[in-house]
């Protein structure tokens, strides 16, 4: 599989020798120097909202949204300049030295980070606008925007990180804001548990991130990505020795954040949070942090000497996730959970793409997915807003009631399933083509596994989306009352996102445009990947019919009938019951790990502490007391032993000093010290 990579390494070495760069870029001038504002503005706004939000004109919404608008505009300008002349810039502020390591906060301005700034800014802005309507009347309206703004800040800390420490900081900041927002309605313990689950699953994966970062930093002598890559170019034998473990550990961290199997369990539960949160964090941006990490470390993962062997694992995990976790969407009744499993599946596509070396394709899917999936979530939120239920069994026929929501949802669906010419068509095709190219060049089982699963994944994606659309928007409305279309403040962002979902694919239409490739390959280190200049018509000829057939089957199976329950009767023996139990993975974690740890293991530890470890001093003290009783060397009042005696000394405030100082404490101390001195003398003699 990696035979093809050896020439790349040669290229890498060549690059090192010549000291030249294949990417020609400027330093971005003041625009890049001031790019730290992108990170700092949302964080400062978070503080402002916490302290002054309730007294401010829009109760915090205005400030938060202004922050995102700022990020969006700054990101767009950077993107523009980057496309024009390329920007490579790295700023840093020293925050301390430990041993020989320098700790820094910094900001990277290159193709990859600019793409994320732009994405977080634009999607964030639209979601924040939408949230004004969606969260209206919420009990914790201001708090919501403070947490949301903290998330945006944390995400920008993450994607701007020039070093591993800052990446970890951003990583955990988005984690904690995710926890806060999932548990936003904490009156209900179900939501708190969902927040805890997200935090804990990520924390487990984060041990991998920590360990990987530690190994990498110690091997390279620096936390900075640029310096780590430099040592790789020069040949870093330590990093080569530990490359596999460092790469694997870091990938485990990425698996947690990007909800890859077997860490995917937290994401569907995270839907307990308000829908804008699901859209921005749990679909568009935060969950892509793992993909971002692998992309940031792409040169490391591509070189066989270093993290190369992990690539195969990345591919396999991504392929498993995209197919088997996608299957779980088939049986969901809650529309948000259906979309959540879909997100897990799409993240699998991106991860697998990274594994096969398709840097641009993976990031392109990340980019388009952010738009169409946040669109789907927000449209679903609009539906939920109208019918006051998450369950598709309470919906049906909504097409007529909420037309704007319907049409935008349709565009999102078209983009997700990959219909020409919507965004997902291009990005998913690029991934499948990359997988195919990879397999045909280096035909291993894992490579073909990936190809087959990615096409099968396209089938199930189309199938469950057909079900979702049909059950939600077609047939007869099953709920109570008359649903109403959402206000403009919600539908306008939907329309804007729909435009992105429809159009962004054209940024990288194979054979026609390569704007996106040009954009994200502006990196300080050359990104060596498979390039696909020609459209892969052969694959399109396979995938598009697969999608159309799946849609047709889906729409037929879930066609309108008398009741929603009747429509949703389709089932496949063995498989569907298994899917309904989520492959028993969640149960295994709960009953196999969490409950035993919190129950018998924790209780047992405490029992041992109190009854075994602590028994030693207690028994010794008890023994001393009995000895004292028996020998009666203490005075008569000491019959009850040291304990009573001391309790007499401390039992009352009045006169306690007299008792204590004329009492036994001092005597006891004196005896001890005398003993010590004697021991010391003995010590010296022998």
């Amino acid at each position: 599989m990696f035979a093809s990579l050896t020439p790349m390494l040669a290229g890498f070495a060549l690059f090192a020798e010549e000291g030249e760069h294949e990417v020609h870029a400027g330093d971005g001038g003041w625009l890049a120097e001031w790019a730290w504002m992108i990170v700092v503005v949302p964080l400062v706004i978070t503080f402002l909202i916490v302290f002054f939000g309730k007294r401010s004109p829009w109760k915090g919404w205005g400030m938060a949204t202004f922050g995102m608008a700022f990020v969006a505009v700054y990101g767009a300008v950077l993107a523009w300049v980057n496309l024009d002349e390329g920007i490579l810039y790295e700023g840093a502020i020293e925050i301390g030295r430990i041993g020989s390591f320098t700790l820094e906060w910094g900001w990277v301005v290159d193709g990859l980070s600019i793409m994320m700034y732009f994405l977080v800014g634009v999607v964030g802005f639209l979601v924040f606008v939408y949230a004004n309507g969606y969260m209206k009347g919420d009990v914790r309206y201001t708090w919501f925007f403070a947490s949301f703004s903290l998330f945006a800040g944390g995400m920008l800390v993450l994607v701007s990180a020039p070093n591993l420490i800052q990446l970890i900081v951003g990583w955990e900041l988005v984690g904690v804001s995710s926890y806060l927002l999932i548990a936003h309605y904490w009156e209900d313990f179900d939501n708190v548990d969902a927040g805890n689950k997200a935090f804990m699953v990520n924390k487990v994966a984060d041990t991998g991130l920590f360990i990987g970062a530690i190994i990498m930093a110690l091997s390279a002598g620096s936390f900075k990505f640029s310096e780590i890559f430099e040592t790789m170019v020069g040949g870093n034998s330590t990093l080569a020795q530990f490359g596999f473990w460092a790469g694997l550990a870091l990938f485990i961290g990425a698996m947690g954040k990007s909800a890859q199997f077997p860490f995917h369990v937290w994401l569907p539960d995270a839907m307990a949070g308000p829908t804008p949160v699901s859209a921005l964090m749990h679909a568009a941006t935060m969950v892509t942090a793992g993909i971002y990490l692998v992309a940031r470390l792409f040169p490391f993962y591509q070189l066989p000497e270093y993290g190369g062997d992990v690539s195969m694992i990345i591919t396999i995990i991504g392929a498993i996730t995209l197919f088997f976790m996608g299957l779980l969407a088939l049986v969901q009744n809650d529309i948000k959970k259906l979309l959540a499993y879909s997100t897990v599946s799409q993240l699998g596509y991106m991860m697998a793409a990274m594994g096969v070396g398709a840097y641009t394709a993976g990031l392109f899917h990340l980019f388009t997915h952010a738009f169409f999936k946040s669109l789907l979530f927000l449209a679903a939120g609009s539906v939920i807003h109208a019918v006051h239920s998450n369950n598709m069994s309470d919906m049906g026929g909504l097409r007529k009631y909420v037309p704007a929501t319907f049409w935008t949802f349709m565009i999102g669906t078209a983009a997700l399933v990959g219909l020409f010419p919507f965004a997902g068509f291009w990005s998913k095709d690029e991934i499948i083509a990359s997988a195919y190219y990879n397999a045909s060049e280096d035909p291993t089982a894992a490579a073909w596994f990936m190809v087959v699963l990615s096409i099968a994944g396209a089938f199930i994606t189309a199938f469950y989306m057909a079900r979702a659309v049909s059950l939600t928007f077609f047939g007869k409305y099953q709920g109570h009352g008359e649903p109403h279309e959402s206000p403009k403040i919600m539908t306008v962002p939907l329309i804007a996102l729909a435009a992105f979902a429809a159009g962004t694919g054209l940024l990288n239409a194979p054979g026609l445009t390569h704007v996106f490739t040009d954009w994200v390959t502006v990196r300080a280190f050359p990104i060596m990947e498979h390039h696909f200049e020609a459209p892969s018509w052969g694959l399109i000829a396979i995938v598009t019919p697969v999608v159309l057939i799946a849609l047709a089957i889906g729409f037929y199976l879930y066609r309108p009938k008398q009741t929603q329950a009747e429509r949703d009767e389709f089932s496949i023996p063995v498989l569907y019951p298994l899917l309904e139990q989520k492959y028993y993975i969640d149960d295994f974690y709960m009953d196999g790990i969490v409950r035993p740890t919190m129950g018998p293991i924790a209780d047992g530890t405490l029992w041992i502490d109190e009854n075994v470890v602590d028994a030693v001093p207690n028994l010794v003290a008890g023994g001393a007391k009995h000895t004292a009783d028996a020998v009666n060397t203490f005075d008569q009042r000491g019959v009850d032993g040291v304990f009573n005696m001391l309790s007499a000394a401390t039992g009352a405030t009045g006169g306690f000093l007299r008792k204590a100082f004329t009492g036994r404490v001092q005597q006891y101390a004196a005896i001890s010290f005398a003993g010590v001195v004697i021991l010391a003398l003995l010590f010296m003699i022998f």
């Binding site: 925050i95 301390g96 906060w105 904490w186 708190v192 919190m598 924790a602 008890g622 000394a649 401390t650």
Partner: protein
Amino acid sequence: MEWFDSGWGLSLIVFLPLVGALILAAIPRSAEAGMKWVALVTAFGTFALAILLAVRFDYGAAAQMQFGTDLPWIEAINARYHIGVDGISLPLVVLSTFITTLVVIYSWNHWPEPHNPKLLLILTMILATGMTGTFVALDLVLFFVFFEVVLLPMYFMIGIWGDTSIRTVPVVHWEIEMRLYASIKFFLFTLFGSAFMLLGFLALYFKSGDAGARTFDILELSALGQAGLFAGTFAFWVFAAMFLGFAVKVPMWPLHTWLPDAHTAAPTIGSVILAAILLKLGTYGFIRISIPILPEEAKNWAWFIGVLAVIGIIYGSLACLAQSDMKRLIAYSSVGHMGFVMLGVATLTDIGINAAIIGMVAHGLITGLLFFIAGSMAHRYHTRDMNRLGGQMILMPKMGVILGFAAMASLGLPALAGFWGEFMSLLASFNPLPGLSVSLFRTLMVVAAIGTVLTAGYMLWMLRSVDFGEPTAEWRDHDFHDIDKYEWMAWAPLVVMTIAIGIYPAIVFNATNDAVVNLVAKAFGG
């Protein structure tokens, strides 16, 4: 500022609280307000002097002892009044004066029963002298005296103002008042440890006679130790003796069992001082005394200390998960957190010891805050049972938010102070000092990393039980006072410093790094 720099400043920082204690003793009991002000002025004055110390400290020469005084004291045994600060002790001196000030502010309207503010404040002032004195002492006798000075005030604090509920001690089946059991246990454990510690000190003193005049001077002993004077079985036993003294104080597993009882039974300010400062006397002892004086022996013991530290992390965290008493949970969490500190120390590397110091400072700020909160909550609910609590975000939203912040800080959230100690001690464990077992320390690193998961687990569990959900029927109609202004004044500085060190760890590392690098270089060679 000549007088300040030449050593008077440092002595003033150490003894000003004692002067305050004497003034307090002279004030009649009825003049409560006057006593508070005297205590506050003393504590704040000391803190201000410590800040001045930090400002005038020469960070370029952080490895040197600064503001030193070296006067004859007990000439018969050549014990000297030798004090000074370097980059290692500076943060701890500032921390202890800082915490003392906050404790006095908090006490303004939080007097535990049986009242008697006069005595409580006097004890607090004596504690302050003992704590800062320990951090600046450069003579073993002086160190020992200060180390022991904190013992009695804390003993009385727990014994008099402590929890009066009855505890049934397992195994031996004593039915005893919590405060009595805890105070005696604290006293005996510490005394047991420090007796051995003194034994070790005396052994060093006598042995140092082999190379000239006998001395208790820590710097001289360090030089002798690094020249190889203390070796073999002698070094082993001395290290073992001092280990007992320091390990009880830290506390390291399995010598920790005094801690949950003492922390839980102590009045709020007692718990805060215990957690924030007293535990650090032990870890500081390892860094200042054990390692420099007995470097070769430290290498032999490193694996043992590392293993105990990591057992402490896992074991303490598991014990937390089984707790329903909130204060006891926080107490056990200290066992885990101090485990990270000791793991850093055990690596014997510059990174590890830096991690230990910043971990000590962070633990002081964060666990101090947690105990303040737990105390204020117990004051309002009259219970610490988490099964009865719940819905605090509705009952007292500000308290709930601050508790959430402290919990997040405690579980090592990056960009807050606790992260650096935890992460850097893991980092150090991957590459311990050459000569130590790499595979063992890497295993310890992985196990300790799992400990961070457990830490997150019990902190989130605590938040779930206490903060979230609807209030139970017991409290629903109860009217609670949310955080009052004295609480804010005591807590806000802790919050600010937790964030500040999290964002800008140079606040600590600027002082410690050169000193630690120098310490490690001298003890173990370049």
